[in-house]
Symmetry: C2
Subunit: 489 residues, 2 copies
């Protein structure tokens, strides 16, 4: 099947699009900018959800659900938030259709809402309007709430998973008694995201702070994790915001502190979305199709029998049974594909293309020899293994694949990260892609100038690594530390 896929080197964007469509992950719907997430793609999202949800709960969070609709007036309450979010959004103005003898089904002009409703692009406003009723005293704090939901941002240029009008995500919204606690929460959730990206997606990330101009609208500080895709472009993979008291002030959420004084509540919010599926694809997949880290693969192992007739198939099925049981007992998901309408070669191509991490083939000769043939998707290597201890071997192999994918992606990122000192060097380097570590004078003007001239943005001010001061590559003014520039998705 890989011949139906554009090569990455020929056209990375086309390769990505082909892959998403042909590996049955998602497709465009007829509704502008909205995607259909197909079962194979949704199964990856379910695995992501389960892992993240477990990590949220382990850090004391609970889930809740808030309305899809936000009254227009809520957006006017937090001044910077409205600038960032209320612009391109879906607006509900009516609540009824009617049949028209000539035009068919039309909007009933009588059923006009007094105040328009916005489909949530993010839920800070409606949640903080609700928190007003939930918080009275310091004993009600912290509120550690997460929501799994769909949101809508009316994007003009969309790409499957990476940027769609409607997408699925989780949004955490927490309320705290002190600034220090809220900042600690913001940082804790950034750590959760980084750990999730590296341990589950096998996608190395840089943790950092956004510059003021790239901050979330309404945040005091936006922390992010940034990943590097194979084509040398950056992907913002998750953000965690310290919101200060901005939303508490806008929505009048106050509490009585231990000293019996009224104070505004401190806030955070943090989210990751189905965009991560796009990041997963662009980090690991190749010209042969999808490559999935075992921890997020909907099915980790597929077993394909090589049988010439029903008798052989029956014998192989019996041979396979204890392997299936053994794998399942260790929590490994496995499919035995005994569909005799499809040839093994067709199945091999299909499972390779769809990114099954491990494929086991078993024919009559394997049974005679007490062996199986094991193929790993990440390296495409095949190996004949003794069937003894095959369950343990497969378990180790899955872990080895998970580790290898991370190491490979990390090596790629390291190869593609450069330190530059002059703007001339920078302009050349940016054409080759990758992360560029350079000094910046801290002004929005310089940031904007670089963006206009090179299409590169400051991805983040890294929290770790070299923090030596220097001079801005553009203006020569003092710089506190190098920041990361890249062109980005």
């Amino acid at each position: 099947m890989s011949d139906i896929l554009t090569k990455r080197a020929d056209d990375h964007a086309q390769w990505y699009n082909d892959l998403v469509l042909k590996a049955d992950l998602a497709e465009h719907s007829e509704v502008r900018g909205c995607m259909v997430i197909k079962p194979h793609g949704y199964a990856i999202w379910e695995k992501m959800q389960a892992a993240l949800d477990g990590m949220f709960k382990a850090t004391g969070h609970v889930n809740a659900y808030f309305p899809l609709f936000i009254p227009r007036s809520y957006f006017a309450k937090e001044a910077s938030h409205v600038e960032g979010f209320a612009k391109e959004c879906a607006v509900v103005t009516h609540y009824r259709l009617k049949s028209d003898p000539e035009k068919g089904i039309v909007v009933d002009p009588e059923a006009k809402l007094e105040e328009e409703l916005i489909i949530r692009p993010t839920s800070e406003t409606i949640i903080w309007n609700t928190y007003r009723g939930w918080v009275k005293s310091y004993r009600d704090l912290p509120l550690l709430v997460n929501q799994w939901a769909n949101v809508v941002r009316w994007e003009m240029r969309t790409r499957l998973f990476l940027r769609t009008a409607e997408f699925l995500w989780q949004e955490g919204h927490t309320a705290h008694a002190t600034k220090a606690e809220a900042i600690a929460e913001t940082e804790r959730m950034l750590e959760v995201y980084a750990r999730f990206a590296e341990e589950w997606l096998a996608m190395p990330v840089i943790k950092g702070l956004k510059t003021p101009s790239e901050r979330f609208a309404g945040a005091e500080d936006t922390y992010c994790i940034e990943a590097l895709m194979q084509d040398g472009k950056a992907l913002q993979a998750g953000t965690s915001h310290f919101l200060g008291q901005n939303f508490a002030k806008a929505f009048d959420v106050v509490f009585t502190n231990k000293e019996n004084k009224q104070e505004h509540v401190w806030a955070t919010s943090w989210g990751v979305s189905t965009r991560l599926i796009g990041g997963l694809i662009m980090t690991h997949s190749d010209d042969h199709g999808l490559v999935l880290p075992p921890k997020l693969a909907p099915t980790q192992v597929v077993i394909v029998p090589i049988a010439k007739n029903g008798e052989q198939l029956a014998a192989i099925s019996a041979y396979v049974e204890p392997i299936l049981q053994g794998l399942r007992a260790r929590g490994i998901t496995v499919k035995f594909d005994d569909d005799d309408q499809k040839k093994p070669g067709w199945k091999f191509a299909e499972y390779e293309f769809k990114g099954y991490p491990v494929r086991i083939a078993i024919g009559p000769r394997d049974m005679e020899n007490g062996t199986v043939e094991v193929a790993r998707r990440d390296t495409l290597e095949k190996q004949v293994m003794q069937v003894t201890d095959i369950v343990e071997k497969v378990e180790h192999l899955l872990q080895a694949i998970q580790d290898n994918l991370f190491q490979k992606a990390l090596a790629m990122r390291e190869r593609s990260t450069r330190v530059v000192d002059t703007y001339a060097e920078f302009k050349q380097a940016i054409e080759e892609g990758g992360f560029i570590l350079a000094h910046w004078d801290g002004t929005a003007e310089t940031e904007e100038k670089v963006k206009q001239e090179t299409k590169a943005t400051i991805r983040c001010i890294p929290l770790h690594g070299d923090r030596t001061p220097g001079t801005c590559m553009v203006t020569g003014a003092p710089s506190a530390q190098r920041v990361i520039f890249a062109r980005a998705y």
Copy 2:
């Protein structure tokens, strides 16, 4: 806390509303008809989702996600569907807001959609429009797809969980090569719902068919499960629809069958929603607060230490530790509430009100005697038990509570189910509430007359039980079998 709750006998509707609000399950948002599902309520929904999702997967279904928005024109394609659904709905007409120097944030009149988008009230139309591209041959069938999603129906009179403008649900949408297969699927999913209601919610249900006038808009047959609430009103708890070829014809979904002929695909759809939480509450809860079946309780066991000082608390904590470990090892969720800011009495009231199935209290004397005090929420009985084997005893007790709740609800339903033969008897019986088994002549006219005169509807034509023919209680015309009448939510 139970003194803050209206008694059921005084005002059942007020009792329900009080309970939902005061047990922190949900609240009204400022957005008309939309609720906020609070963490305690959402945790019940998560448990329901996990159980149902497992049952769907065990029957071969996979999850996917389709757009929130449905173009207006899709509704015109299936004639009866539009009558049922496209009327009261949220309509998106614009995609941008703008700042107005005088009015603040306003809808940008320039940003008007060419075709309005409807927020899905149910997804048959957009899904069948998508299936057109997925189905070519009988080899692509069946498609067994489920979606977890939010939907919106612009209800004028809303009640928390039972009827809200936005609600959460799952909707299964399957496509089959033959009519028989589609009917078998419709019935299979009805069985899944019935099993879920009885085994998880401990809520007995009657399986039946809806009359033509109560059918889902666009269905050939609607199967349902009907439950009886404590106030004698019925609750439709889930529906499974055989859609025939209606949507395949409306959206032109054809496949090549084994005989190489083009044929329209056969369809089903089925759904349950957050309404089930309302059913759960009204089936089991009492004047003391919420009663939850252990299988759906967010936390099944709570342990409250009775300590006068820090030393005693430390001793009790040590005593409790192996119990906590033992319960958790068996998959039982347990909370040890060692918050020394709250008195035990306050905790008892709180956990009773919020429906924790089992409460264990441990004081210094218990430690001396090697005992614990165990209270069960369903009967409010307390018992001193030896701490030996306490884990096994609690496990059995949880099962006993689950069983008792079901049996109690079943006995209530049986007490409240009457067989009547005359319309005069019927009119009297309906005032007392409950299910009424009566003969009906099968016409929409008679059904409507009964509804107008008594507010009772035909809940279903039962699939099981007495199917002896008779004569209609209203018209005396022949009746194939008794049907179930009730006033309903």
